[in-house]
Amino acid sequence: MTPVLGSVSLSLAAGFGILSVILLSLYIRSGDYRLFLAGRRMAIIVSALVIIATLLLVKELITSNFDVDYVAHYTSIETPTIYKFTALWAGQSGSLLFWVFILSIYSLIMIFQNRNRYHRMMPWVLCVILTVQLFFLILTNFITNPFEPTNADFVIANGLGLNPLLQNLTMAIHPPVLYLGFVGFTIPFAFTFAALLTNEKGSLWVRSIRRWSLVTWLALSCGIILGGWWAYQELGWGGYWAWDPVENASFMPWLTGTAFLHSIIIQEKKNMLRVWNTILIMLTFALTIFGTFLTRSGVMSSVHSFTESPLGPIFLAFVAIIVTVCAILVFQGLPRMKSDKHIESLTSRESGFLFNNVVFVTMCFAVFWGTIFPVISEAVRGTKITVGPPFFNQVNVPIGLLLLMLTGVGPLLAWRRTSRSNFIKYFSIPVGLALIAAIVFLLFGFRGYVVISLTLSVFVVVAIITEFKRGIQARVNRFGESSFVAFRTMVRKNRSRYGGYFVHLGIVLMFIGFTGQAFNLKKEFGLGINDREHVGDINFELKQLREEERPNHFAWIAELLVTGKDGNSITTLLPEKRIYFHRDPNPDRRQPHSELDIHTTLKGDIYSVFSSIDTDNGIAFFQIMINPLVQFVWYGGYILVLGTLIALWPSKREKLLT
């Protein structure tokens, strides 16, 4: 009964959605407020129905109703309950339902927040959100319905289940966090679209969506970092970012979204860069739909799988429609949107924000180009060319370093224009210290991008510290507060800025972590008992090889003694080689898995993989990687989150305006 209910909910949601759009459109034409009220109620019902449908699917998953095809495919009786729940977003139809589920929750919150304001924009905002909901509802009603009954000639007693290799917590929370970020950009997009159509002059609505955008951005950032963390901890290749199309799909909207976040500050304060902001949020939203398309339609693995289901072309059509409509609106609205104020100087803070936008969009284009190049080359020349990490790294490193530099330069510039004396006053210490650092790094023997990266990191850190100092000093001078009180009050009165500086510090730490990759070492070798091998200055000796039979797998455990240059003991690593389904009579159904062991220090990680075992000769094969400074990436991530929370922390005065 409940699967039918679920399907019916989805159909009803689509029906109410269409009705709602009709009523709201009629309201826009006639101005009869009753139409708006009815339309809004229906929009609420649409979201409610989607939420109900999702809860019903969750119920089917948790109670293991294998009559539902989706449940049988992604869970089994043995699957732990939490992974029965997370199967909600494991498969295509479930994840699409999940997308519109999150959008529906966001929609309800947005409707509630704005129930008494923006009366002119709201019908348009709702129409945009409803259109997106309807798109996903069309997909889940007609193309991939999660409530589809199982098509088998026999009663399914147990489902296929989730691969035990995927049953770890990070893999479970990475998709929903990412979705919270992805989907969230629909709301600021809807508002911007509405403002464009209603010719909204004020920038008040920009302030309202700033919080939305920040929360969404935080979720997206966390989702991306979690993905990298999972790859590093679980996949065993020693890296955290492979410039994979799915990774790029989430990174591109992050880039334009970050630019948008920065740029709307200028729009709020100076009512400038309006055209930029409109384009940026439209791009970001289009990229989230495009990203969902890349991840879910399978177009990147093979153009053949793309044409098997109508899902791919429909997604692409939707993206094309969004881009076309937005482009037309922007062109039409250009004369109205252009600000009467202009950037007055190349060395102004406003100009810094403008460059910030340009560089972020450039990097986004570079990633986009690399991602779709294979598809284009296949379509145009018939040969498929895969674009690997070396391309992305080569293109993006200089652009990334430019961004790092801007992070430091921006805050040092003054509004409107920086006078020559101020320029010297503010830049001399950061630049001076950075140059000294550069000389030190060169003396240490570092070269090329490593030197540039580390020097810029020093520059940015010093710049941020001087920013804090100046702010504190100003308060001490004017209000006579103590430094500590001044610091607290200063941050409290301007959470966005100082929270933002913390975020920048986090980014600097991440860049330091990225730079460490230049010194990565990797070696593969076999060891018998008491054999030794070295990677760089570190020695590895196999002390023992144990076997253990466990509930759902069999394991070989290697005891590796790790010693340093002078023979001092660093640690003992215990990487494992596991076989899941080891009792299965069919050897091809047994699943080997390497359980890594990582020794983590601030200086670097020693990363060990037990890759295979030669039982006849008692030789264990290892892949060892030394990853210097990699922990800085994760610590940078924590600081980034902390900074964003500071910026988001509600203050009494914000409540008035948002």
Binding site: D69, Y74, F154, N163, L166, T383, Q623
Partner: protein, 144 residues
């Protein structure tokens, strides 16, 4: 020069440089592994292309042979439809590498066999199987 013009020129200039840079790396990557052609088994057997290429296929059943001297060395046959390509690979084999696995190899074709330095198996994103195929079950099933 009016500041507005200075800014327009700087931004345009930077954009052009950036676009050229992206184009430049596309055609002249420093690392040969940046842009690699992806071709089929059939094509490499016919053209005997000795550029660095990527080939996808399935591990032919029973073709996996480990070297007796170097346990990190393996030879197998890559199958695509009715075309078969002998492959040699030295390195750590991915966990999912076995009979029938979908793999991608990257390397150079030389004298009748393919010397791969990269071996990748398809990501185990989910345990895909046909529900109607009774043999894909772990436990029992009831027939009616």
């Amino acid at each position: 020069m009016a500041p507005k013009n200075k800014i327009v020129i700087t931004v345009t200039g930077f954009t052009l440089v950036a676009l050229f840079w992206i184009y430049w790396v596309s055609v002249n990557p420093i690392d040969e592994k940046a842009m690699v052609k992806f071709i089929s088994v059939q094509e490499i057997l016919q053209t005997e292309n000795n550029e660095r290429v990527r080939i996808g296929g399935v591990v032919a059943d029973g073709s996996i042979t480990l070297s007796s001297t170097n346990k990190l060395e393996v030879a197998f046959t890559l199958k695509e439809g009715d075309s078969f390509l002998p492959v040699e690979f030295i390195g750590t084999r991915p966990d999912l590498f076995k009979n029938g696995a979908e793999v991608i190899v990257e390397g150079l074709y030389q004298e009748g066999s393919f010397h791969a330095d990269i071996l990748q198996t398809k990501c185990a994103s989910r345990y895909e199987g046909d529900l109607r195929d009774a043999s894909s079950y772990n436990l029992y099933e009831i027939e009616i």
